[in-house]
């Protein structure tokens, strides 16, 4: 569709209702998500950027103070003041999103409290198989269906396999469908009467390894979870459909380091195989290629002694080598992207840490 020049994510930013950024760690993914949000706000849309990054990088980039409450959208002031758009940011807290989900899916307060106060629940609500990734998706769904937002952007946890996020609903359903879980929760029988062999083995193993108290808590927890299982299951299926609909778009973010490129290639394949709408690639932190030193002048620069000119020449050559090698690495990823836009963002002389820096990135992303 688009040629290699004039690559831009302007269409994605203007049209998508859900945008998911994914990629390996340390490539500026959160900053990119924030810049995409800013680009959409500048285009007049009301945008919320959701991040699960515990290091609060988005908070740094957006100048939100540490005291900001987790899990609620915060308006980013002084942004997009000249347009009708608004940029909001939200730090996801997996545990409190899970709490909210439990409250929504239970029929009584008593039922909800039984789950929320269970010690096993308290310990695992943030770490249950795929829970953090699932909660990112769950929050995306809540925000999307609230009707309050033109665009919801989710910055996913850094991942070597995007599938962690994309498969999270399936993993949670898989967990709920596990034979041991089914046996423990079937018919609300007393725990002493569990007859299923695998479940007995499980109880035996937990008791043997971790003591009797945790067995009681675990069984009780699984039983109470059974009450909300149909709701979880339905939600997981809705999210799965939503993420594959044409209102959604996935953007893969990478850096030019070989390791990151390898992981990004893997992600692109996983998105395509999973039938997820793939909106573009952002390659961040690329070193600039200096202007070349004319060949004719090289002789003059041979055999320099230590000193400022040697510093200049050595640095120039080092930067050139690195910048060119990076471009070879990312050619493979650009090929793989086929017809979607590939945006290359240079490594800035200073780190992006304020709204001006983000605005500059937003302009580069949406042209």
């Amino acid at each position: 569709m688009s040629a290699s020049t004039d690559e831009s994510l302007a269409d994605v930013v203007a049209e998508a209702n859900l945008l998911v950024t994914c990629g390996p760690g340390g490539v500026g993914k959160t900053t990119t998500a924030a810049a995409l949000g800013l680009a959409a706000a500048l285009a007049g849309r009301k945008v919320v950027v959701v991040t699960v990054d515990p290091a609060r990088r988005l908070a740094d980039a957006l100048g939100l103070d540490e005291g900001a409450a987790a899990d609620e959208p915060h308006h980013v002031a002084d942004v997009a003041a000249d347009s009708d758009g608004e940029l909001w940011a939200l730090m996801l807290d997996a545990a409190s999103t899970f709490d909210r989900l439990v409250r929504e899916q239970t029929t009584s307060r008593k039922q909800a409290d039984a789950i929320l106060q269970n010690p096993v629940y308290r310990a695992i609500s943030g770490s249950l198989a795929g829970a953090q990734e699932y909660m990112a998706i769950e929050r995306l769904h809540q925000l999307h269906t609230s009707g309050d937002w033109d665009l919801v952007i989710v910055d996913t946890p850094p991942s070597r396999h995007a599938i962690d996020l994309l498969e999270a609903p399936d993993r949670l359903i898989g967990f709920l469908g596990h034979p041991v879980y089914r046996a423990l929760t079937a018919g609300q029988r007393a725990f002493a009467k569990v007859t299923n062999a695998a479940a007995s083995m499980f109880l035996w193993a937990v008791r043997r390894l971790a003591g009797p108290q945790i067995v009681e808590d675990t069984v009780e927890f699984f039983r109470s979870l059974a009450n909300i299982e149909p709701g979880l299951r339905r939600r997981a299926e809705e999210v799965s459909v939503l993420l594959r609909s044409d209102t959604a778009s996935f953007v893969v973010v990478s850096s030019p380091r070989a390791e990151a490129i390898g992981e990004a290639e893997h992600l692109v394949g996983a998105l395509r195989d999973g039938g997820f709408p793939f909106g573009g690639v952002v390659i961040n932190l690329i070193h600039p290629v200096p202007e070349p030193i004319p060949v004719a002048d090289r002789a003059e620069l041979e055999g320099l002694e230590d000193g400022p000119l040697l510093d200049h020449v050595a640095w120039h050559d080092e930067l050139t080598d690195l910048a060119l090698a990076e471009r070879e690495e990312l050619a493979a990823l650009a090929d793989l992207a086929e017809d979607v836009p590939v945006i290359e963002l240079p490594l800035m002389p200073v780190d992006v840490h304020d709204v001006d820096g983000l605005t500059d990135l937003a302009v580069r992303l949406s042209g």
Binding site: V27, A123, A198, M201, F202, I214, W315, D321
Partner: protein
Amino acid sequence: MAMVDVDWITSTQVAIVAGKGGVGSSTVAAAYALAAARIGADVLFVSVDGRPGMGPLLGGRELDDREHILRKLKGAGQVRGRTIPADQAFGDYLELKGVGGVLRRAASAASLPMVAAATPGLEHLLVLGKIKELARDGAADLIVVDAPPAGHAAPFLRSATGLSDVVQSGPVREQAVEVDEMLRDPDRCRAMIVTLPEETPVTEAVELAVEFQRDIGLALLPVVANGCWPDRPGLEKSPAMAARSHKVKLSAATKAALASSAEFGWARLERQRHQLARLAAEIGEPMALLPRLPTPRLTLHQLGDLADALVEPLVDAEDLT
């Protein structure tokens, strides 16, 4: 050859190398293993998450759950390598506790995901427990652990203390207590924090240092600042000024070419100095500075360069602030 104090390299039995995503902590772990082998140590490299490419980077085959020799150094030590998958650690643990073969296979295959879900951090604890067993059995002079990346290092190491809140009795508690003891004993276990001389990675390294020392009681090895550009003070001068002090005359095109790289370079170097000073001031531990290699893809030879840089004299935090 100048005498260099490299005692820290073998100052502990288990070295946990950790950093947030993208700082190159796996590469530094490999360079550390190589540096230790060069001074005669028998080193076991353990990859917790089985990240691909680490075995070949060390000169051997891809790592799996069985131990292989990756590299033997003539007249010196060697590097062996393996991964420790949680299910294998679980099986080994059941065996250690006298659980019989058939039952053990059934239990580990069918119920690890469920047991692990019911006892958060159990998988991490089992892996740390296995490392503890290897250290106790004297499996190597030094065990270098390439910890999970991207924000998972602290939960990984906290699994021992975290589990004891939920688990009040039984072998898991015993295991948690023993792992906790190992993590708190600097002769047996220390952590190497890896970062980059950039703003966000430095902030994260400082957070990690606090979590390790205060929350886990884990002592630190030197802090590694990876990817440092060599300092080039000459970039502060313009290319024309620089040429004058060498009594060389440059064409306008060459001056422009040098200026195009110098502007970017000087800004990055200023940034780097500032961030290294911040890292030194906030953590206050000796530091090893590893060079930024001019390549996006590391080779065996370049890993050797990083190992060389690790055995250079450490930089005192005070010298950078």
